[in-house]
């Protein structure tokens, strides 16, 4: 595709019209199949050859491609964007998109490891150019652990994952409330806006950005939105994904009193000022790391120290060998530090990831590392996870499952729960304060469960199982505890358990037999969203649960996609997202409907018209916020969706719709060209190829709705349409039978 930098002419927004030219090509090349290919070649030549001073003629020459009929589209598989719309099974590529989203969601719930580094360690790392200290150094590498990670689930079968990750956080400030100037939602909107603007300048219009991915199911922008959303939630008592599973206590070989420092760091984190808030369970794994400075210190010393550490602290130790000098791009074995994938909106705004995303190679700001260092860090993280953290988590889950959960599952546990809930005889649950019908473990003044209470432990166990991707166990555990939270009126916990229960059920690839399940999942999301929104007024979490609902239901396919679309509409209705978010959700609705495939063998069951409508609406909104290129992408998408259901490309049967779409097309075209510095205002919409003259040329091949064709009891609907509208000429060659 052309880009503005090449000096090639401006490409018109693709959606202008199913134009005259299409007819022209039809009449010129009766045998369309091969003809279009050659036509394309010609046009490609013409495009590269022509000069930028005459953009409009070029634009018109290009129209035939853009507006080509499905047959010719399938002929042009060279551009990804059109390849995806090749007729036959337009949704072939879509499974990848949803897999992608699934993986994104799964990776969002990675275990958290707190970093607790000594002063000298941070100083060493800062020397290397990482201002944030040790955590900044390891964080990008933790996001994907190289190689397969094998996890055993509760029934003893193991499964290997190659997209496992870990999230490193600083122990300081963990669990503090998000004290940004505005809410995460507003920040997210800001990030989106920033991204949009930067895309406009760097990519020359997000059309190309969209085309690169090809799959309309996941535009980069909505992916960014999802990632932002999933990384925006701060650590809260009601879910333990943000609670550290382990903490890495790091010292460097520069330290003069290493063992003493380690002890001191440990004490700081368990009793001192870096102690985590009360609602975080304190018995997480401690992992000790000695960072050896390759350039200044003696390895023999460090090995001796390391042996000593191993004797003191057991197996959870690691010797990390790093070079202390800063690496620059010109160094022999320099490698670029991968960009962080999971930046919270706040970090995005403060410009953490900026250097990687915006600045070209070679400029300062982009951190580089020696190859040996990068390898050492990767090995360290892999060892940390595979040998310590994951076994620790597996062990915990097994122990809790044995000690806490099974007791609840047994008959006596159930009886106890029941009797607790309805104390026989006395005054029942209306009692005052913490007791009275509930378990009494919920601290109503601070709104959290003590971490040792069975409820908190079960929630933690479920979260661990979720992070270990044992969704079956997670779902059953959430299921078990969700009503308890309701009885205790711990609404946030209640909402969280419902949300995660539904999510883990949806993630579980095996389960989910029938509609009943879907209904119950719907119900759970409903409850979660009500609890979050109405009872706790926690909009970010509500938005997260609804977005997860949309994405996961959509990836389920079938009738679930409609539910997904409904949830997306709910999000808009609740006003959880602002203007750009609204538009993104419109696109999501369109994508949900578009992914509903027709019943096999029949022509009905798809939701093309609905998808098309939402795309058009999204295009309208993009135009209103001044993003004509995005609008035109949406418009094009809508055209593709409508192509199957409209008799004539781009000609709607309803007059008001037609007017609206025509005006929209024209407005998009004008704004698009204006944004590129051309004055297109003199073109009036009347000149739009959808003129009357063209319609008279249009040859309508079908006399029936497509859904009726091939079905018995064919209705002999009249082919004689005398009404204004798409004319029908019976003598048309029936070259359209493939579509029927």
């Amino acid at each position: 595709m052309t880009s503005p930098g090449d000096g090639t002419p401006v490409k018109p927004p693709p959606s202008f019209s199913p134009g005259i030219a299409r007819n022209a090509s039809k009449s010129r090349f009766p045998d369309e199949g091969e003809a279009t290919a050659s036509l394309d070649a010609e046009l490609a030549d013409a495009r590269t050859g022509s000069s930028p001073t005459s953009p409009l003629p070029t634009a018109t020459t290009e129209l035939p491609i853009r507006s080509a009929s499905p047959q010719s589209r399938s002929g042009r598989s060279s551009t990804p964007q059109l390849a995806r719309s090749s007729i036959g099974s337009p949704f072939d590529g879509r499974s990848d998109g949803s897999e992608d989203i699934r993986s994104l969601i799964i990776r969002a719930f990675s275990p958290t490891v707190a970093i607790h580094a000594s002063e000298d360690t941070d100083a060493l790392v800062r020397n290397k150019g990482f201002k944030g200290g040790f955590r900044d150094l390891v964080r990008p590498y933790g996001e994907t652990i190289p190689g397969k990670v094998i996890i055993r689930d509760s029934i003893g079968s193991s499964r290997a994952w190659d997209d496992y990750g870990v999230r490193f956080v600083n122990i300081k400030g963990l669990g503090l409330a998000n004290t940004g100037r505005d809410s995460p939602l507003a920040q997210m909107e800001e990030v989106l806006e920033k991204q949009l603007n930067s895309e406009e300048t760097t990519l020359g219009g997000p059309i190309s950005g969209k085309d690169v991915l090809g799959v309309p199911a996941t535009t980069p922008l909505s992916k960014l939105f999802l990632r932002q959303l999933l990384s925006s939630t701060s650590t809260t008592p009601h879910e333990t994904f943000g609670h550290p599973v382990a903490s890495v206590i790091a010292i460097s070989s520069r330290n003069t009193a290493p063992l003493e420092t380690l002890r001191q760091l440990y004490a700081e984190s368990s009793t001192g000022d870096k102690r985590l808030p009360d609602w975080i369970q304190q018995d997480y794994l401690r992992y000790y790391v000695l960072i050896h400075d390759e350039e200044r210190d003696d390895i023999a010393e460090s090995t001796k120290l390391y042996d000593q550490m191993k004797r003191h602290f057991g197996l959870h130790c690691h010797l990390l060998r790093l070079r202390s000098s800063q690496c620059v791009v010109t160094d022999d074995d320099s490698t670029q530090v991968p960009p962080c994938e999971w930046l919270s909106p706040r970090e995005h705004l403060s410009g953490v990831g900026e250097a990687e995303t915006l600045v070209d190679l070679g400029t300062d700001g982009t951190p580089y590392l020696f190859d040996s260092d990068a390898t050492a860090i990767r090995t360290f993280i892999r060892e940390l996870m595979v040998q310590s953290v994951i076994p620790f988590m597996e062990n915990r889950v097994a122990v809790w499952n044995d000690q806490v959960a099974s007791r609840r599952r047994g008959i006596s546990g159930r009886l106890a729960a029941v009797s607790r809930r309805w104390p026989f005889g006395s005054s029942s649950r209306s009692g005052i304060g913490s007791s009275g019908g509930n378990t009494g473990n919920y601290d109503t003044t601070h709104n959290f469960y003590a971490p040792e209470s069975p409820e908190a432990t079960l929630r933690k166990m479920a979260d661990f199982a979720f992070m270990l991707r044992d969704w079956k166990l997670a779902a059953s555990t959430y299921e078990m505890i969700r009503s308890d939270f309701g009885n205790d009126k711990a609404w946030k916990y209640h909402a969280g358990a419902h949300e995660m229960c539904a999510v883990s059920m949806l993630l579980n690839p095996l389960a989910m037999s029938a509609k009943i399940k879907l209904e119950s999942i719907d119900q759970m999301f409903e409850t979660a969203c009500y609890s979050y929104l109405t009872r706790c007024s926690d909009a970010p979490h509500a938005l997260r649960s609804l977005t997860l609902a949309v994405e996961l239901l959509k990836s389920r396919g079938g009738s679930a996609t409609e539910t997904a679309a409904r949830w997306a509409m709910r999000v808009m209705d609740f006003g959880l997202v602002e203007s750009i978010g609204q538009i993104l959700f419109m696109e999501r609705v369109a994508a949900c409907y578009a992914s509903k495939t027709p019943v096999t063998g029949a022509k009905w069951g798809a939701r093309r018209r609905k998808a098309g409508m939402w795309s058009i609406l999204a295009a309208d909104q993009w135009l209103k916020v001044g993003k004509p290129s995005l609008a035109s992408a949406c418009l094009e998408e809508a055209e593709r969706l409508y192509a199957d259901v409209l008799e004539v490309d781009g000609a709607f049967p309803m007059p008001e719709m037609q007017t609206f779409v025509d005006n929209l097309r024209h407005a998009v075209k004008v704004e698009y060209l204006e944004a590129r510095g051309f004055d297109a205002r003199d073109e009036s919409p009347i000149e739009d190829p959808i003129g009357t003259e063209e319609i008279s040329e249009k040859l309508d091949k079908r006399s029936h709705r497509r859904s009726l064709i091939g079905l018995p009891a064919q209705l002999d609907a009249g082919n004689l349409k005398l009404s204004p509208g798409p004319g029908t000429l019976e003598e048309a060659p029936n070259d359209d039978f493939e579509r029927a």
Binding site: R566, M569, R570, M572, D573, F574, G575, Q582, A602, K603, W604, G605, A606, R607, R608, R609, K610, G612, M613, I616, L617, Q621, V645, E647, F652, P653, M654, P655, E656, M657, T659, F660, R702, S703, H704, R705, S707, L708, L715, A717, G718, N719, L720, K721, L722, S723, P724, G725, P726
Partner: protein
């Protein structure tokens, strides 16, 4: 309650359109949709998009009256459909009046419905678009329209797929709307 009624030919071409409001409970029979005046095309978009559902419903539902088939939540527009044996579709979009208190933030549902003096009582049809009474009222309306439609279609000057311009027909539809909705 505002109504938008469309008859579509088997090839999706509209052959008759009418918008009207409820006449029950003191309504003045004037349609007040939630869309601003500049966005009246939304009715057609919604109707058109519900054809997806209709095409599915017509193979699963034996009757001619397909009942309430689709909803467009952002504007709380409800679609009921009726299918004639010749494949002509009657589609009725009904939209309950927006309550003055509901601060819907939906961009599309932005209301043009001013708090006009007509206080609509909670007559069963207007209040709840999915209730049994509404279904019944719509069914009666559809049947009456069907009768008029058949008579019109049997006119020797009418051919299938032609737009219906007969003022008599329009009058009959209006009357049916007044009577039932």
């Amino acid at each position: 309650m505002s109504y938008y009624f469309t008859i579509l030919s088997p090839t999706d071409t509209p052959i008759f359109n009418i918008a009207f409001g409820t006449s029950k409970g003191g309504g003045d029979g004037i349609a007040r949709f939630r869309f601003p005046d500049t966005a009246q095309y939304m009715n057609q978009f919604i109707i058109h998009s519900s054809l997806d559902i209709l095409e599915e419903a017509q193979w699963t539902n034996g009757g001619m009256y397909l009942k309430h088939i689709d909803t467009y939540p952002p504007a709380s527009a409800y679609i009921s459909a009726f299918l004639t044996p010749s494949g002509t579709r009657f589609l009725l979009l009904h939209q309950p009046p927006q309550l003055p208190t509901s601060g819907s933030s939906s961009t599309l549902g932005a209301s043009s419905l001013l708090a006009s003096g007509t206080t609509r009582s909670s007559s069963s049809v207007a209040a709840n678009p999915t209730s049994a009474q509404t279904e019944e009222a719509v069914r009666q309306f559809m049947n009456e329209v069907y009768e008029s439609f058949v008579k019109t279609a049997m006119s020797p000057f009418y051919r299938q797929g032609m737009e219906i311009r007969s003022p008599v027909f329009r009058g009959k539809i209006t009357a049916a709307g007044k009577k039932w909705l």
